[in-house]
Every structure is written in structure tokens, then in C-alpha cells.
Symmetry: C2
């Protein structure tokens, strides 16, 4: 059982989903390709942590919809109680910025402009996500509590939004430095 396996179980506590849907919805918090997810789902099924049903679709290809079992929920609670790994970030840009003196100002500006566009798109995605959470919630978001279904998602998207704002602020600051 690796971290991604528990991540899939985490998502399944809120909705039953297919492997394809899990792949799409886990992206903001843990990037993973379908080739990694499908074998893990098969493993989770063998262990009894999840169960699936075949769902026929007329408009799209059929799919396997997975649900978490009680056993899976127990496994999740055990995992949450364990010490949490420290976060890992790998950003190629930081290595390039470290030796940015090797290239001219113009090239440096272009490199950072590309990244700024990336951050802006990311911010837009989080804004849309926040709208979606609000639509699915009866309460105003700032009144959600730990017991509410959307609480976890809300506080995570809030964190992600704050962090991407910080990234964008740094980009602006860098533009001044490279003037």
C-alpha cells in the first residue's frame, strides 16, 4: 500500500468513481497517470478495500465504477493516524533560476513569462473548482466544518489558491528585478 493507493481510497470516501474519473480528480493533489492507477485499483480490489460494478453507458464506453468498502475505510483511518511524509516539490525552474546569470535578461524574462502563464491558468482552474464546491454545498464555504462533506476539498483548494497567488506575486516581483 503506497501513498497513491491511500489517495485513491480517500477520493472514494466522497464518491464512487471509475479509474478514469479518479485519475482526473486526484490531479490537483497528487499527479498520477492512468497506467499507475489501474493496476493499483486491481490490487485494492484484491485486498477487499474497494469493490467495483460494471456500468454500461450508451453515450460513452462502458466503465468500472469503484466504491470503498468498510475494510477500506478502516485502512484509511489507520493510515491517517500514522506519521505523515514530508511534502516533496521538484521544480526544474528553480534550478534554472539558480544559474540565471548564464543567460541574458531577455531570455530570463521569457522563461518567467511562460511560468507566469502556467500559474495564471492554474489559478483559474482552482477558481472554477471553488465555484463547483460552492454549487454542491448548502452552507456558504466559510461556514463549513470538519463534519461537512466538502470541508476537506474546500480547505485544500483554499490552500492551493493562496499558494498560487504567492507564486504569481513572485513572478511580478521578478519582473521588476529583470527590468
Amino acid at each position: 500500500m503506497n501513498t497513491l493507493s491511500y489517495g485513491l481510497l480517500s477520493l472514494l470516501t466522497k464518491n464512487s468513481r471509475s479509474g478514469y474519473e479518479l485519475m482526473q480528480h486526484i490531479q490537483p493533489f497528487w499527479s498520477a497517470k492512468h497506467s499507475q492507477i489501474y493496476p493499483l485499483l486491481a490490487q485494492l480490489e484484491q485486498k477487499g478495500h474497494v469493490a467495483f460494478v460494471h456500468v454500461a453507458q450508451s453515450d460513452k464506453p462502458d466503465k468500472k465504477v469503484y466504491s470503498i468498502t468498510e475494510q477500506g475505510k478502516d485502512a484509511l483511518r489507520g493510515w491517517i493516524a500514522e506519521p505523515t511524509d514530508e511534502p516533496v516539490t521538484r521544480d526544474e525552474l528553480s534550478l534554472k533560476v539558480y544559474c540565471i546569470g548564464l543567460v541574458d535578461k531577455e531570455q530570463a524574462r521569457k522563461m518567467l513569462a511562460v511560468r507566469e502563464v502556467y500559474y495564471k491558468k492554474k489559478k483559474e482552474r482552482f477558481n472554477l473548482l471553488m465555484d463547483k464546491i460552492q454549487q454542491g454545498s448548502e452552507k456558504p464555504l466559510d461556514q463549513l466544518e470538519i463534519g461537512d462533506d466538502a470541508f476537506g476539498m474546500y480547505v485544500l483548494v483554499h490552500k492551493a489558491t493562496m499558494k498560487v497567488d504567492t507564486d504569481l506575486y513572485w513572478c511580478e516581483w521578478m519582473k521588476e528585478k529583470l527590468k
Copy 2:
């Protein structure tokens, strides 16, 4: 040539260093173990991107000090000109927070308290790093420009400090939510 190889070359543009020292200094920007670094250095040496000399030490074990070659610098400039990979972050905590409703408030608070301590230590490390950069610089840090040796390091540590402040702010915000 993977990203870490270019990262090692990036560090070597500022100082000649041993594998052990490279491992220590690359940590804030790209986490890597010595077992990954030593083989890559051997590869870089074979390709002519770096050269090393044996340095005998009386107080410590002897070491191999690597320097970047002109060919290595050319390789670096080519790499900087290429499109930059998007950053990847994997944080087990975000998956646990997503389904935080599975456990009680007290356990949730404890989990976040552990993370807050981690962020505070991290902030302290960046503060020390910033002091060290100032000590090695003639100019005040906010006057450094792209041509200055410490510029890249300065802007990166500035970014890291802003981001860890955001993380700490989120921890405070979460404490209110879990009251």
C-alpha cells in the same frame, strides 16, 4: 542527462564542490540522496561536463572536488533555452486532509500541529540561508541584479520564504476552523 544532472551542473557554476557537498546544497531546491548523485557525477565526468581533483583532508576523509567545464556550461545554456517542465508537488498531508472527516477534531489538530512545526523549522532554515547570502554579498540583497553571483540564490530563497509563510498562514487559518 536528466534534470538532476543539470541541477548539479547549475550548482557547480558558483562553486566547485564534492558529491557530498552537492547533495547538501541541492536539497532546498531538488531533494536527492547521495546514492543518486554519485553515479550521475561519474556520468557527467565521462561526458566531459565536469572534472574532479582528489583533495586530501587531515581533519576529515579525503574527497573528490568537482568543477564544471566550458563544455558543461554550454550544456547548461542549452538546457535553460529548452522548455521548462512544470513543477510537481506530492504532499501526503493533502490526501489526508481531503478525507479528514473520517477522524475526530483532536486527531486532525494534532496532524496539522506536526506539519506546522515542520514549516516553522523550514522557515528558520531559509532565514539562516538568507543571512548567509547577505554575509557573502557586498551589496544589500534587494539591490542584487541578474549579473550578480548571489542573485539566483537570493530570489529563490525569497520565493521559498514567501511560500512557507503562506503555508504557516494556512496552518493558523486551519486552527480556527478546527476550534
